[in-house]
């Protein structure tokens, strides 16, 4: 029986993604403020579609998300 701490034997894989919020006045690639306001001024609705990659295949995870038929609403804040 495989030792449950034998990670290699289990073929265990784990990824860690670390996000660090920058304490800046504006976002990195545009002049928008970093803090949202209380009430959005407008909303934009978007549909996302999986597209074949350079290799000609659609990413499985993207396809799975697409089949959930979600749409995405982005809140727009004019200024803060």
């Amino acid at each position: 029986m495989t030792d449950s701490t034998d990670y290699n034997g289990l073929g265990f894989r784990c990824g860690i993604e670390i996000h660090q919020q920058l304490d800046t006045d504006t976002k990195l690639f545009c002049d928008c403020p970093t803090q949202p306001g209380e009430q959005p001024d407008a909303a934009v609705k978007r549909e996302l579609r999986p597209v074949p990659s350079e290799m000609g295949e659609v990413d499985r995870a993207a396809q799975f998300e697409y089949l959930k038929e979600k749409s995405f609403t982005y809140n727009v804040f004019r200024d803060v």
Binding site: A43, V44, K45, R46, E47, L48, R49, P50, V51, P52, S53, E54, M55, G56, E57, V58, A62, S71
Partner: protein, 441 residues
Amino acid sequence: MYSDQVQGLLDDAGVAVGDTVRVTTDTGEYEGRLMPRSEQGDTDVLVLKLGNGYNIGVRYDDSVEIELVAEHEAAENAHVEVPEQDPSKPDIAVLHTGGTIASKVSYEKGGVIPAFDPDELFQFYPELFEEADIESEVLGQIHSGDMEPGHWQAFAEAVAEHRDKDGVIIGHGTDTMQYTAAALSFMLENIDIPVVLVGAQRSSDRPSSDSAMNLLSAMEFIKEGVPGVYVCMHTGTSDTQAAVHRGTRVRKMHTSRRDAFRSIDTSPVAVVDYPSGEVEFLQEVDGSVDGEFSLRTELNTDVGMIKSRPGIDVDALDAVAGKDGVVLEGTGLGHFPVNSFDDYTEHHTEVLDVIGEMAEDGVAVMTSQCINGRVNMNVYEYGVKIQDRGVLSAENMLTEVAYVKLMWVLGQTDSQVAAEELFQENVAGEIVEREAYDGFN
């Protein structure tokens, strides 16, 4: 393309773009698929797609070794089943001229090419095939800012060949889509099917691309069976509605927004709800045409275009004088600086003379920089002076449309008088007879 030096290294190792390779450098060993190098990048840097999907660049120098791991096998297309042709479904031809409606990497060509076989198009837009029988054709892969009038003629001929279909969708770059739309409107006289140009302000290799909605909305409009040439793009920046604009009344009004295209002096012909596909007509249209179809592609491209501006000098006007046709884009109601009354304006009498010669030697027409609204050279005396020299009013034709129309009109007849008459006729809805109070956005 890789540099000659790098290509030599690859040739020696028996390695080609698309092959899986192992590259050994001072910093380590990298295994991946050798990708094409774009012209804009550093051609001494090898691009490898690693197994995890990331692309890396490895700069070639003497210390780099490369060996073949496995040759590229032509990829099997993901197993797709294009729905069978069904006579009850409308027949639609999808023609590609440029922009990125659907694209894929070609190892052979070393770059991105249109993915336009029915199998490939189906992968991108399965809904298209569920509701229509699609025939697809690649007419070109042209950045529309590079298009020339000869391309318009070729596109018109291609559309004419598909007249037996229920409709034609043309994928086109957004930069000059309005010019092509106007050209097709004139060249396809009495076209009896809908011809809809679509584009994308966001590349189709992004999940958020606007291309799908524009394409599918165009298909829904085609099902209504209203003949003519149109442009179909987003109404707003949400993916909820597309607008179908008359091809001679539409202009790209923003560099990047999805709703960049606007009808000028009028409403769009229709709007299409997404994803329901419901079409609502904003104008009264009928399915009838005024006569037999005629393919009239003749053009006279000896036409100039010049914008008035404070500081314009006679040299600038001379550059377009002597041509068979000139579009003058005037200020306000259609004015050029022709009044001379002080030291600064001495040359204005000469400006008027040059304009007068243009109208004698060829057909000179006046549009407005205001974009919206009608030209009227009867209101101010400096407009009257210009009109008295023989410059024609282009009414509320868009400058770009007047330019295309003038090329077309001068191609249809050798007679200046006949050309002037034809220019002033409302051939394809390019003149808005009655501007609605809410036609200004």
